[in-house]
């Protein structure tokens, strides 16, 4: 059994930021990451961050990941296990993980669950056919590994991810048949939508997908116009010839460990699904278990980093290390300003219901 001050599950932006903060305050940290590398989904963000106010604006996600990884690797207070999948957290405070063909047992004084999120699936006929991808998966395949998913793509969802990935597909030389969006409005930034439209790709609002066609893999998609109750309009069905259907319909938190650990959960449509009840320092209803990043509510990498910092510094304070109260205040202010304005409205609404 390994003892540690602070176990961190997840080596994405939230977990890395938390590990750094706690370790810099003097805590002994053990970090578990399921993949063989650190950085989480930052590694597929090969394009510059669009943000304006945050400290990483203008940097590529993959460079932010490299920056963190270097810092973590040379920090003597942090022990990193990559290729280690957290399995469960038990009543006696023991955390288990599968690592290199065996089971690790860890007894941490405090725990951060920063397990991230996964892409949502929507119901339509044959949605399990090869050729139906999550938008993030296409991004990874094409931007990180330089392999394209197909020749002609239907994008489902006109939020920022749908718009950005469509643009990236075109940069990679792939045709985008159309972007369809179930609601009456483009959810992403207009600057992205205009760019797509200028390139001749229609953005069809009030449209959804009914079926993927094909036997062994996608050969087309049946789409339709819908009314405000998501009912197909009569006679509006048509088939488009595509070999790839890309779903950009949102993410939901990977909350299994939180359920298993007994944290009180609440369904929040604004935050992407079931998320844990937390206090202002990101501690859940289970004492000593903290959260940060997408598992706490779907946002983006900058807020994940800030939440990670807040959780890490809160843990350090919890275990009796001295921390700068000014710094905590500053992080909270940064989070608040990130969520200000109309774009952050749904996040503010969601958090108002789960923060106690």
């Amino acid at each position: 059994m390994r003892q540690t001050d602070f176990a961190v599950i997840g080596g994405g932006p939230a977990g890395l930021a938390a590990a750094m903060e706690a370790a810099n305050a003097g805590a002994k940290v053990l970090l578990l990451e399921r993949d063989d590398w650190l950085g989480g989904q930052l590694v597929k963000q090969t394009h510059q961050f669009f943000g304006s106010k945050n400290e990483f604006a203008g940097m590529r996600g993959i460079d932010i990941a490299r920056h963190f990884t270097e810092q973590i690797e040379k920090n003597e207070n942090i022990e990193v296990f990559t290729g280690a999948t957290a399995l469960g957290y038990y009543e006696d405070g023991v955390l288990t993980a599968a690592y290199s063909g065996r089971v690790l047992k860890i007894k941490p004084r405090t725990l951060l669950i920063a397990s991230g999120a996964m892409e949502k699936m929507i119901p339509f006929i044959n949605n399990d056919l090869p050729g139906v991808y999550g938008a993030g998966a296409v991004q990874t395949l094409m931007n990180v590994y330089g392999v394209v998913p197909g020749k002609r793509v239907l994008m489902v969802g006109a939020g920022n991810i749908g718009l950005i990935v469509s643009y990236q597909l075109m940069q990679a030389g792939i045709e985008v048949e159309a972007i369809i969006e179930g609601t009456s409005q483009v959810g992403g930034y207009w600057v992205h939508a205009s760019k797509i439209r200028r390139m001749g790709v229609p953005i069809l609002t009030n449209h959804t997908i009914l079926q993927a066609t094909g036997q062994e893999k996608v050969e087309g998609a049946i789409i339709t116009e819908i009314d405000e109750n998501w009912k197909p309009l009569p006679g509006a069905e048509r088939e488009v010839k595509v070999d790839t259907i890309c779903l950009a319909v949102g993410l939901s938190p990977l909350a299994e460990l939180l359920w298993q650990a007994g944290c009180e959960m609440e369904f929040s449509p604004q935050l992407g699904g079931y998320v844990p009840i937390r206090d202002g320092n990101l501690e859940t209803t289970e004492e000593g278990i903290y959260i940060a990043g997408d598992v706490a509510g779907i946002e983006e990498a900058t807020s994940a980093i800030l939440e990670g910092q807040l959780a890490g510094i809160s843990v350090a304070r919890k275990i009796g290390l001295s921390v700068s109260e000014d710094k905590i205040k500053k992080i909270k202010e940064n989070l608040k300003s990130l969520r200000a304005g109309p774009v952050g409205e749904h996040i503010r609404q969601g958090l108002a219901r789960v923060e106690r």
Binding site: M118, E119, Y145, A172
Partner: protein, 104 residues
Amino acid sequence: MRIKDHPILSFEERKMVDFTFEGKILSGKEGEPIAAALHDAGIRVLRKSPRHNRPRGFFCAIGNCSSCLMVVDGEPNVKVCVTPLREGMKVEYQEGKGDINAAD
């Protein structure tokens, strides 16, 4: 298919290695996910689902959804979307749940 010209990205040069898929020799970049190499070779169907025998392919790319489980070097349930390709790997379709004793 691999991207040849990209306006802003460049891709890591890596050693090309041979591996087999269903007995056929293919090649891919060492260390890239097995699924990326299969994709490059045009292979989309990676397994058959346990209950209804439906074809399944690459979906999430983060090792979470279990759509891409394959048999690699005799070991079933390998997540090929996050498992690095190595020289000489033997990659096969997985039918159903896979036999965990088969590798012994």
